[in-house]
C-alpha cells in the first residue's frame, strides 16, 4: 500500500469517528430549535425547517432553568475553590515535609480512591440526615471539600517546587503560610488549573448526592433538574433537548477555549500515576 493510500484511509477513518463523536451534540442542538411536530416527524432533517426558541421559553417558564443553572454554577465554583486549596495544602505537606507516618498516611489517602460510592453512600446519607444537614448546601460541600485525588495530584506536582527556594525563604524569615501562598501556589499553577477543571466537571455532573440531599426544588442542581423535568414532562421532547443543551453547551464552549489545559491535565494525571 502506498503512503498516499494509507494516509487517505487514516484520515477517512478518523473523520468517520469524529463525525460519530460530535453528531449527538449537533443533533441535540438543532432539535432544541425545532417545534414538537418537526421533532417527531417521520421525515427527519438535521436542520430545523422553522426555527423557534419556544422550547427554551417553556423550560424557563415551567422549570426556572436559569435558577438551576445558577445553583450548579455556584456549587461548582465554591467546591472547586475549596477542594483545590485543600488539595494544594495537602499535597504540599505530603510533598515537602518529613514526618513520622507520612508514607502510610499517604497510602491511606490513595486507597480511599478505590472505594465504591455505593459503600459509603448509605451511612453518609444517614449521617448527614441525622445531623440536620439535609437540604443545605453544606451537605454538598463538606464531603467534596477534601479530595484524595486532588491531594495525590498536587503531591506529584511538588517536584516542580525546588527545595532550595523554600529553604532560602525560610532563612529569610518567611512564615510557612507566606511560603505556601507566595511561593508554592504560584509554582503550581499548571497542576492547579488541571485539577480545577476535573473538580469543576465532577461537581457539575454530580447527580445522586444532590438528588438525595436537596429537597427544595429551587435549591436543586441542573443535573437533578433534568431528571425531574423528564419525569414530569416525559413527552416534551423539545423541552428535554433544550434542557440538555443548557447543561452541555457551556461545558463544550469552555472546553474548546481551554482544550490544551484539559488534555494536559488528563495526560499528566495518568502518566504520573
Amino acid at each position: 500500500m502506498s503512503r498516499r493510500v494509507t494516509s487517505v484511509c487514516l484520515h477517512v477513518g478518523l473523520l468517520a469517528v469524529a463525525a460519530v463523536t460530535i453528531f449527538p451534540f449537533v443533533w441535540m442542538l438543532m432539535s432544541s430549535f425545532k417545534y414538537a411536530d418537526e421533532i417527531s416527524a417521520v421525515d427527519q432533517h438535521l436542520l430545523p425547517r422553522v426555527w423557534t426558541l419556544d422550547n427554551y421559553r417553556s423550560i424557563q417558564e415551567h422549570f426556572d432553568v436559569v435558577r438551576l443553572f445558577g445553583n450548579s454554577l455556584l456549587l461548582s465554583v465554591a467546591i472547586t475553590a475549596i477542594a483545590v486549596y485543600s488539595s494544594l495544602l495537602g499535597g504540599y505537606v505530603f510533598g515537602k515535609y518529613r514526618f513520622r507516618g507520612r508514607g502510610p498516611l499517604f497510602a491511606l489517602v490513595l486507597s480511599t480512591m478505590m472505594i465504591p460510592w455505593a459503600v459509603v453512600l448509605i451511612p453518609r446519607y444517614t449521617m448527614f440526615t441525622d445531623a440536620g444537614l439535609q437540604d443545605s448546601y453544606a451537605s454538598i460541600i463538606i464531603p467534596a471539600a477534601i479530595s484524595s485525588f486532588g491531594i495525590f495530584m498536587m503531591r506529584q506536582s511538588m517536584n516542580n517546587v525546588p527545595d532550595e527556594i523554600l529553604e532560602a525563604a525560610r532563612i529569610d524569615g518567611a512564615s510557612e503560610l507566606y511560603i505556601f501562598h507566595r511561593i508554592v501556589a504560584p509554582l503550581s499553577v499548571n497542576a492547579i488549573s488541571a485539577l480545577a477543571i476535573f473538580q469543576f466537571l465532577w461537581v457539575w455532573e454530580d447527580y445522586l448526592w444532590p438528588y438525595l440531599m436537596l429537597t427544595t426544588p429551587s435549591k436543586q442542581v441542573l443535573a437533578v433538574g433534568l431528571t425531574t423535568f423528564s419525569g414530569q414532562y416525559s413527552t416534551d421532547y423539545g423541552g428535554l433537548f433544550a434542557a440538555t443543551t443548557v447543561s452541555i453547551i457551556p461545558v463544550v464552549i469552555v472546553y474548546v477555549i481551554f482544550q490544551k489545559r484539559f488534555v494536559a491535565g488528563a495526560a499528566s494525571a495518568a502518566v504520573k500515576g
Partner: protein, 284 residues
C-alpha cells in the same frame, strides 16, 4: 501548619470514609429501614437473601458483561485512534484529539438523556440514520449493548489521550530501530508498541474497571434497569434497594460484596502486571 493539615486529613478520612465503611458493614448485618426506624440484628440474613436473589445474579452477570464490553471497546478504540493520530501521515492531530475527548468532559446525566432520545424508536437518530426499526432500550436483546455503546462513546476519548501520551513518551530510538529492521506496520505494533504501552493499558483497564463496576447514571437514565432486569447493574440494584425500597440493610450487604469484588479485581490486575512472564515480555 503541618499538624493542622494532617489532623484535618485524618479526621476527614475517619468521618467520611472509615466510619461509613464500618457502618455499612454493621448495617449489612441488620434489618435496617430508616423510614420506620427499624435497626434489628439479623446476622448474615441479608447476605443469604442476596445470594439467593436471582436479580442479584442477573445484575452481577450484566455488570461483568457491561464492564468487559466497555473496557475492550475503550482499549481497542483508544489504542487504534491514538496510533492513527500518532502516525506521521496524519494531519490536524490536535483537532482529532480535541474532538475525541469532547464526550468525556460533558456531563453524563445530560449526555445520557441525549442518547435516550437518539435511541427513541419514533424519531431517534440511530434508527433514522441507519434505517433500523428497533426499539433499542425496550428490547431485552439490545438494551444492554445500547447502554454499552453510549458508555464507550462517552469514554473512549480519555483512553485516546492516555495512549497518545504513552506513545509520545516511548523512546524514539526503539521505534526507529524497529523501522530500520524493516518490520511492517502490524508486526511493529504487535511486537514493539503494544508491549511497551502495557503500563498505559494497565492504567486504563484498572481505572475503567473501578469506574464501570460503579456505573449507575447511564442505566438510571436510559433504561431504569429494564426491560425486566436485563440492564440492572450492581450499583443500580444497590440504589434501588436503598433509595426506592429503603431496605438499607440489604443494600449495604450488596454494597459490601461490590466493595470486596472491586478490591479483589484491582489486586488481581496489579498481580497480573507484575507477574514475571509479563515483565520478560515487556523487556524483550
Amino acid at each position: 501548619m503541618r499538624l493542622v493539615v494532617v489532623t484535618t486529613i485524618i479526621v476527614a478520612i475517619l468521618a467520611l470514609v472509615a466510619w461509613p465503611i464500618l457502618a455499612a458493614l454493621l448495617g449489612s448485618l441488620h434489618d435496617w429501614n430508616p423510614l420506620n426506624g427499624t435497626y434489628r440484628w439479623v446476622g448474615l440474613a441479608n447476605y443469604h437473601r442476596l445470594f439467593a436473589d436471582p436479580v442479584f445474579w442477573t445484575s452481577t452477570v450484566n455488570t461483568v458483561v457491561f464492564m468487559a464490553g466497555a473496557i475492550i471497546g475503550r482499549v481497542v478504540l483508544g489504542m487504534a485512534l491514538a496510533y492513527a493520530i500518532y502516525s506521521r501521515l496524519t494531519r490536524a492531530k490536535t483537532l482529532f484529539r480535541t474532538l475525541f475527548y469532547l464526550p468525556t468532559v460533558t456531563p453524563i446525566v445530560a449526555v445520557a438523556y441525549v442518547w435516550r432520545l437518539m435511541y427513541n424508536p419514533q424519531f431517534g437518530a440511530v434508527n433514522s440514520i441507519f434505517g433500523f426499526d428497533v426499539n433499542w432500550l425496550y428490547d431485552s436483546r439490545f438494551a444492554l449493548p445500547a447502554v454499552m455503546v453510549m458508555t464507550i462513546w462517552k469514554d473512549f476519548g480519555f483512553a485516546v489521550i492516555l495512549y497518545l501520551a504513552g506513545l509520545y513518551s516511548l523512546s524514539a530510538d526503539v521505534l526507529e530501530a524497529a523501522e530500520v529492521d524493516g518490520a511492517g506496520a502490524w508486526p511493529r505494533f504487535r511486537r514493539v508498541i503494544w508491549p511497551m504501552l502495557r503500563p498505559t493499558t494497565l492504567f486504563v483497564v484498572v481505572t475503567s474497571m473501578i469506574g464501570y463496576l460503579q456505573a449507575f447514571v447511564q442505566v438510571f437514565v436510559l433504561t431504569a434497569g429494564g426491560p425486566g432486569d436485563s440492564t440492572s447493574l450492581i450499583s443500580y440494584l444497590i440504589y434501588q434497594q436503598a433509595f426506592v425500597k429503603y431496605d438499607f440493610g440489604y443494600a449495604s450487604a450488596a454494597a459490601f460484596v461490590l466493595f470486596i469484588g472491586t478490591a479483589l479485581l484491582t489486586m488481581l490486575s496489579f498481580r497480573a502486571q507484575s507477574a514475571p512472564w509479563r515483565g520478560k515480555e515487556a523487556h524483550r
